[in-house]
């Protein structure tokens, strides 16, 4: 029996082989950040017991302001709704985080769900990143400040999007990933799309594949 190997949702596009360091040759750079851990967390944001237990366990304060996110120690917590968060972490930390969260929230009305197979993340940056986002989504990305996250459309599907550093990240569902990537590639045609080499670049600050 072969060793268990993971295949990310965009595996079939062979992005890793096409990747090159970001330079001035393309208007848009994108790539998948594969194999991160995703935890769906639900609970009452106005319940101090829940907020304290979750924040303490994660080592990051749960963002309570609508459409914001918090990052620390490689963990990013996205506010999705008044009672729902998504925790993005390096795959290596996933089971420890799941364990400590569940333990901390044992007696608190809440839900902790491993959704790591269900999502992946795409980075979009470059001088025309905003133009491309204007093509694919109805949201006013020019007005998206750093530290904000939104759930919005992407063609006929939906994504969570936030700004990180110079670029944008979109968190997408696995089963829609093929469509979303094709839509992105199509939208980027007028500007030239480069597949960004993520290894060793700032975009891996959140963690690389386990």
């Amino acid at each position: 029996m072969s060793e268990p190997t993971m295949r990310s949702p965009l595996h079939s596009f062979g992005l890793e082989e096409q990747a090159k360091p970001i330079d001035g040759s393309c208007g848009v750079w994108a790539n998948e950040i594969p194999h991160l851990g995703y935890i769906s967390l639900r609970g009452n944001g106005t319940d101090p017991a829940f907020v304290t237990a979750a924040s303490t366990s994660l080592g990051v304060s749960l963002p309570l302001r609508p459409c914001t996110f918090a990052s620390s120690n490689g963990i990013t917590i996205l506010w999705l709704s008044p009672d729902e968060w998504m925790i993005v972490c390096p795959r290596a930390q996933l089971s420890a985080l799941l364990g400590s969260l569940r333990h901390a929230l044992t007696d608190v009305r809440s839900q902790v769900v491993d959704n790591s197979g269900g999502y992946t993340q795409v980075i979009i940056e470059g001088p025309n990143a905003l133009d491309v986002l204007q093509h694919v989504s109805v949201y006013d990305f020019a007005g998206l400040e750093p530290g904000r996250v939104v759930g919005t459309t992407f063609g006929k599907s939906s994504v969570y999007a936030f700004r990180q550093g110079e670029g944008y990240r979109v968190v997408i569902r696995r089963s829609f990933a093929d469509y979303i990537w094709r839509y992105l590639v199509r939208a980027a045609v007028p500007y030239g799309l480069g597949i960004a080499d993520l290894a060793g670049s700032r975009v891996t600050e959140e963690g690389v594949p386990a």
Binding site: H35, N115, S116, G117, K156, R186, A187
Partner: protein
């Protein structure tokens, strides 16, 4: 040849850049900056179309989207575009244009033969002639060809299109003087501004009037500095060649930008879209859409060479084309005077016939000084000429009433321009519910000055009826300041001197149809709508035939239809109808202005929603494995699922037969990843499930699974699936593939709105889990090869149990559940490992000849067991009892469940309901059509009373015969017991003209006791 080039200072064509193009196969010259229309006129072209109904010669009338006649087929092959207006086609080198009308030829149009057709084609011709609908198909082909209009390309579109979603504080539609000034003020105030103009450059009427004066400088200089300043402001975006064609609720402006149509095909960039749809949300919308001059209605006013007066001016000043040498202008107002002077100064012989007796003395002085021959109190009775205008017969008009009081001179001319006033371009204002106001003083439907400020919509300039340049600019400044203060801004500096050199205006004459001294219909045809050949007489006829509403008159006469949407004709039509009806114009009102303002290509509307990005295609994590094994796929909702796995030479039936037998007798494997999966957790999760499912969940122990039916409020089955107890406060629900999102929303809705007190949260994990169902008598052996930490023995791992363990080295949840009636294990893993585990199961199953199967085999296997598919065997009107599934309803639960109360409704509880049964055809080889009607007797002719219909029908390889599921009235009582034939069980299934004898039986065809899934 009567038209010629005039090297006008300020013209927007580049005389240093000559171009060549072809029209109807003949080569012509033009210049950069020309439109196809201006270039054709410069080459002396008069007739370039034949009219729709009468085949009359037609020429260019306007300069923009109002043009009714000059419809062109541009380019050839895949790039061909039908029905573009020559006035809107920018000329480029090598452009190929063809006429779209004239049949069989432009020179000889069959319809024009001696008025042969016209006598038989009055208003309402189609309604009257084709009341007998059987005749229509015969005539349609001939009529369409005779009417003309271009052809769509037959090849696939080689170009691409996209959409851009923009957000602005202020969108300004129209880049004329008012729009530019509004943009300058908003831009200087630091607002995020988008200025849209449909032409190749901003300027609007200033481009036709470059020598007007604004603030002491020439309009052309003012324009240059305004555009320059806007381009320097980073917060202002100016989009030219961008036509705003719709204004929707919440200030959504839709605009199409022509990115490449103005370039020779060889020069177009392959990576750029041809056209882009901008969807702009704006806090404030400023309509600076200007106005379009409307012609006067007089006899033979459609002869080529007759235009709007402003078109003559525009062709002269903007394009450097004098349309004629001897020009007759006919007006009711002041607007033509500047143009008259310009034409005379350019060397034309100009006669200006004003219908008014009292005219503006300042203007009169100016035009006489330029050499214009001014005649007051005259109207045109009719024009002369057939393929080109040669002159006109004038008549003396009464000073007040629009009647002829005497004869007038006959004037020779080779071009004729008329002006009945200006019609503001109110379309966008009306798209989302606004109505224009009739301004009797200005003789125009206008946008009220304040627009709908409450909704953030403002009007400035000519669209509000401010036709004078200085008035328009001053009003624009005032309105824009109001707009700015509504956004908490103020215009930082004065807009400077906005004084112009126009004389004060003199009132226009209220005249639309110029009288010819004869009763309507007895003189020369006087056209209101050129594109649809609607004459003034047609409107009279419509009213005589008792059409009263302008919307009905429009539809009866075709006034205002077509690609120009009546931009020249509507107001004349409304006014003439008002006169005939004896009503005022506001009483008659307008027809409805709907998007699009001007035609938009389907490609633009589709944008990137085309080809492989037309619709989301969702794939399972094992997709690559299925492709590698040659699967055929079928769409299930947005998912693409393996349908069957043909081996060499196999068709669907052969493959399904092989796959079915493998699952029944050996081992099969199916990708079940697409099923909806919802994780539910909380102390009250059991109670929540009790309420959303028909059956009871209180007793289900951890490690166990249960099938559940979900009902809507009416007690009808809306979804089904297996739910597993993970822990006392933790369950995993599965839903149908197509119902996943609906069920998730349903659960959230009930929890949030009705039972927020219940301690439960739910999260979709559909995409997290990859699911491989290993199915068949040998499935246990296969799983055992790659799973060592779960006791798979029948006594330790029973049917409807689930276990946590490791499969192929990956943490897994294994469910012993079955949608086939066979021993089966559904292996669930993190989707990132889905492909790995699938391949491991294939490896482990090789020695057992493991057979992947798709949805078709799944359907056969489940139908053999009588397992329903919600939405196929149910249709929103089936209760659990109709499905003979009382066992899945827990009537004793302490709290009610959704749908329970509806069971007591008289219809739901009553007799004669359609119920799920099995059907067996007498001839075992006949597979009934799904949808076949179930009837009582064979000797009926349709329509016949139906008892029900076939919902699922297959050939069962296991049984070697066909099987079917059906819903049949009182079906359960009709079921044949042990082959006993009561008579009631014998029915017929009717499809395709044949009635097949069937026996009603239990829907469980295979293994009725369910032994196989329990081994």
């Amino acid at each position: 040849m009567s038209s010629y080039r005039v090297r006008r200072p300020g013209a927007r064509v580049d005389f240093d850049k000559p171009l060549t193009f072809s029209f109807d196969g003949q080569a012509y010259d033009g210049f950069a900056g020309d439109t196809l229309a201006s270039a054709l006129l410069a080459n002396g072209t008069r007739m370039l179309a034949r009219s729709f109904k009468y085949g009359r010669p037609r020429g260019i009338i306007g300069t923009g989207p109002e043009e009714p006649n000059a419809l062109m087929q541009i380019e050839t092959g895949a790039h061909t575009i039908p029905n573009l207006k020559a006035t809107q086609v920018e000329l480029y080198d090598g452009l190929v244009a063809r006429r779209t009308t004239g049949w069989p030829t432009l020179e000889f149009d069959l319809k024009s033969l001696g008025g042969l057709f016209s006598r038989f084609m009055p208003a309402g011709f189609y309604y009257k002639t084709f009341q007998n609908q059987k005749l229509w198909p015969k005539f349609e082909h001939i009529i369409r060809q005779a009417a003309g209009y271009g052809s769509a390309p037959s090849e696939p579109d080689p170009e691409t299109y996209d959409h851009s979603h923009r957000h602005a504080q202020v969108v300004i539609v129209g880049g004329g003087a008012s729009g530019l000034l509004a943009a300058l003020l908003a831009g200087r105030a630091g607002l995020k501004v988008v200025l849209l103009d449909e032409q190749n450059e901003c300027g609007g009427w200033l481009l036709s009037s470059p020598h007007s004066v604004i603030g002491g400088e020439q309009a052309s200089a003012w324009l240059k500095s305004a555009v320059g300043e806007l381009q320097s402001l980073p917060n202002v975006q100016v989009l030219t060649r961008t036509s705003a064609f719709a204004l929707h609720d919440m200030n959504l402006v839709l605009a199409v930008e022509q990115l490449q149509d103005h370039l020779p095909i060889a020069d177009r960039a392959a990576h750029q879209p041809r056209q882009r749809l901008h969807r702009i949300r704006a806090e404030r919308v400023v309509l600076a859409t200007g106005a379009i001059e409307r012609p006067l209605v007089f006899g033979n006013n459609d002869v080529p060479g007759i235009m709007t007066a402003s078109a003559l001016t525009t062709y002269l000043n903007r394009y450097g084309v004098a349309v004629g040498k001897r020009i007759l202008l006919q007006t009711s107002n002041d607007h033509v005077y500047q143009g008259a002077a310009d034409l005379a100064r350019a060397g034309c012989e100009v006669v200006l016939a004003d219908t008014r007796t009292r005219i503006n003395p300042a203007w009169e002085k100016r035009v006489r000084a330029a050499g214009v021959d001014v005649r007051t109190g005259f109207g045109i009775a009719y024009a002369r000429g057939r393929r080109a205008v040669t002159g006109a017969q004038l008549v003396k008009l009464d000073a007040q009433r629009n009647v002829v009081v005497g004869s007038g001179p006959s004037i020779d001319c080779d071009a004729l321009g008329s002006s009945g006033g200006l019609s503001p371009t109110v379309h966008l204002y009306c798209h989302d519910g606004g109505r224009p106001h009739w301004d009797e003083e200005r003789l125009a439907f206008v946008v009220p000055e304040a627009g709908r400020a409450k909704s953030g919509i403002y009007g400035v300039g000519a669209v509000t009826g401010e036709f004078g340049l200085q008035n328009a600019l001053e009003q624009t400044e005032r309105i824009t300041r109001e707009l700015l203060s509504s956004l908490g801004k103020s215009a930082p500096t004065s807009s400077g001197n906005l004084k112009t050199d126009e004389p004060d205006a003199t009132p226009a004459r209220r005249i639309f149809r110029v009288p010819d001294g004869r009763a309507e219909g007895h003189g020369k045809k006087a056209f209101v709508d050129f594109q649809n050949d609607v004459s003034a007489a047609d409107i009279h006829l419509a009213v005589r035939e008792n059409y009263r509403s302008i919307e009905h008159i429009k539809r009866y006469t075709a006034l205002g239809f077509g690609t120009d949407q009546g931009k020249l004709s509507n107001v004349n039509g409304f006014a003439i109808a008002a006169d005939v009806l004896g009503k005022s114009i506001p009483e008659v009102g307008t027809t409805t202005y709907r998007p699009a303002y001007s035609p938009v290509t389907f490609g633009t509307l589709a944008g990137a929603h085309a080809g492989d990005t037309f619709e989301p295609r969702r794939y399972s994590p094992m997709q690559a494995a299925h492709v590698a094994r040659g699967a055929e796929f079928e769409p299930v909702g947005q998912w693409l699922r393996p349908w069957y796995f043909p081996q060499t030479g196999e068709d669907l039936h052969a493959a399904v037969r092989r796959e079915c037998l493998a699952a029944r007798r050996g081992v099969g494997i199916m990708d079940a990843s697409t099923l909806g999966k919802i994780d539910l957790r909380g102390k009250d999760v059991r109670e929540f499930l009790n309420r959303v499912y028909a059956n009871a969940w209180t007793q289900l122990a951890p490690g166990k699974c249960r099938y559940g039916l979900m009902l809507d409020e009416n007690g009808m089955v809306m979804d089904d699936g297996v739910t597993a107890c993970v822990a006392d406060n933790h369950f995993l629900m599965t839903t149908t593939t197509g119902g996943a999102a609906r069920v998730m929303t349903w659960l959230e809705k009930w929890h949030q709105t009705e039972w927020p007190d219940l301690d439960v949260y739910m999260t979709s994990v559909t995409d997290h889990w990859a699911t491989a169902a290993v199915v068949g008598p040998k499935s246990r052996q296969v799983l055992a090869k790659i799973c060592s930490d779960i006791d798979l023995s029948p006594s330790a791992f029973k049917f409807m149990d689930w276990r946590e363990g490791t499969v192929a080295g990956v943490p897994a949840r294994v469910f012993r559940i079955s949608f086939s009636g066979e021993l089966a294990f559904e292996v669930n893993v993190d989707a990132n490992y889905g492909h790995h585990v699938w391949e491991a199961l294939m490896d482990g199953g090789r020695e057992f000849d493991i057979t992947p199967y798709g949805t078709e085999t799944m359907h056969v296997l489940r139908a053999e067991k009588g397992f329903i598919i919600v939405g196929q065997d149910t249709d929103g009107s089936m209760t659990p009892l109709d499905l003979d599934m009382a066992w899945a309803v827990g009537m004793k639960k302490p709290f009610s469940f959704i749908g329970k109360r509806s069971f007591a409704r008289s219809d739901t509880a009553g007799p004669n309901r359609k119920q799920l049964v099995g059907l067996l055809t007498d001839d075992p080889q006949i597979v009934l059509a799904e949808g076949a009607q179930v009837i009582e007797r064979a000797d009926v002719t349709p329509p016949a009373a139906m008892l029900g219909h076939v919902t699922s029908s297959y050939y069962s390889p296991e049984l070697g015969r066909s099987i079917a599921l059906a819903v049949v009235r009182d079906g359960i009582a009709r079921r044949s017991e042990d082959g006993h034939k009561s008579g009631r069980d014998l029915l017929y299934a009717y499809a395709g003209g044949k009635a097949h004898k069937v026996t009603v039986v239990s829907p469980v065809f295979v293994d009725p006791k369910g032994d196989r899934q329990n081994v």
